[in-house]
Symmetry: C2
Subunit: 196 residues, 2 copies
């Protein structure tokens, strides 16, 4: 169990690999930016953060409009996610070139990617300058789910469709087998005696 | 491609499922808190955020000491991670009860979990109150890696050992197959003609 000590670096894993939708289809064109520096930061109200370099094409729209969407892709959409993270919206219409359908959110003007199974509509509450990146802390004001991913009990079921895309140490992954539900380590086995 | 609109909720996926190490082994005992509300927030300097409810046992140590570790578990450690997220450090010595080895960081007094392959040493730079959770924005000042996860070229190779634990919509997962490296969608195929 011996350890090697390295300099500090961004080795958290896995992280999400999502398409943030920016713009409003008018003065700021609809664009997509691939984001791995994203995380949930609060449960009530539901809040997310995404971090973006100020030199990115989407940055100005984020600062001016203070709205974005987070579009969670399937593992099968990895190539599209990767491409949207490599090219710039200054030179490309990412929706058109990847045959993605942009639809305005129900509570934000920013575009949803209809082809992604899960879409979060986000309103920026705070911008924190950190260094290479600015962090946009936003409330998730609505969620949209593709109907085919809702099971018969009305719940989200992404697993039956191959699951969502993950990112770890520079590589894309799908999710493998489900190990257990939160709390599985203390759940009583069927037929076990309950101790009081 | 029709969508159902839900209320805003914390549906980002996947997210990490990590053990944050808190305390200093003296006035604040070494403890572990399972965190899924974590993300990378800046590349330079390397920064992470973790979000913690003020009512959690670890909260006071985080605020007073302004240091923590992030211990990234393997999928095979899911039951330990789950248990550490269900019970409180007020009632349990989590290191002792799960046979985990606590070692002080190289740059922080907070305990590393030696049995986790990857450990991030973190110093809090900013605390942001958001609602149910406070977000601790921290610089990753050092990384420790278990020697057996470093390959012959000196690089981290978590994949050959089953990979890290992921969390999505209340369930734990391992990572499945690797789909590609960042940039794979635009990489030239071997033998292809380079267009100039």
């Amino acid at each position: 169990m011996s350890k090697v000590i390295w300099l500090g670096s961004t080795q958290l894993a896995p992280v999400p690999a999502v398409l943030a939708g920016t713009g409003n289809g008018k003065d700021f064109k609809n664009n997509l930016i691939t984001i791995a520096w994203a995380g949930i930061v609060c449960s009530t109200p539901p809040m997310i953060s995404i971090s973006v370099r100020p030199e990115r094409y989407s940055y100005e729209a984020l600062v001016k409009l203070r709205e974005f969407t987070v579009n969670i892709p399937l593992a099968s959409q990895a190539a599209t996610v990767d491409w949207c993270g490599v090219v710039s919206g200054a030179d490309h219409d990412k929706f058109a070139e990847k045959n993605l359908t942009a639809v305005q959110g129900s509570k934000v003007a920013a575009p949803l990617v209809m082809e992604c199974p899960l879409n979060l509509e986000c309103k920026v509450r705070e911008i924190v300058k950190l260094g290479s990146h600015d962090m946009f802390i936003a409330e998730i004001v609505a969620v949209q789910v593709s109907e085919e991913f809702i099971d018969s009990s009305g719940r989200l079921d992404l697993e039956r469709c191959g699951g969502v895309l993950a990112y770890a140490h520079g590589h894309y992954f799908n999710l493998g087998k489900c190990i257990g539900h939160f709390g599985f380590s203390v759940r009583k086995k069927a037929g076990s005696v309950i101790r009081k």
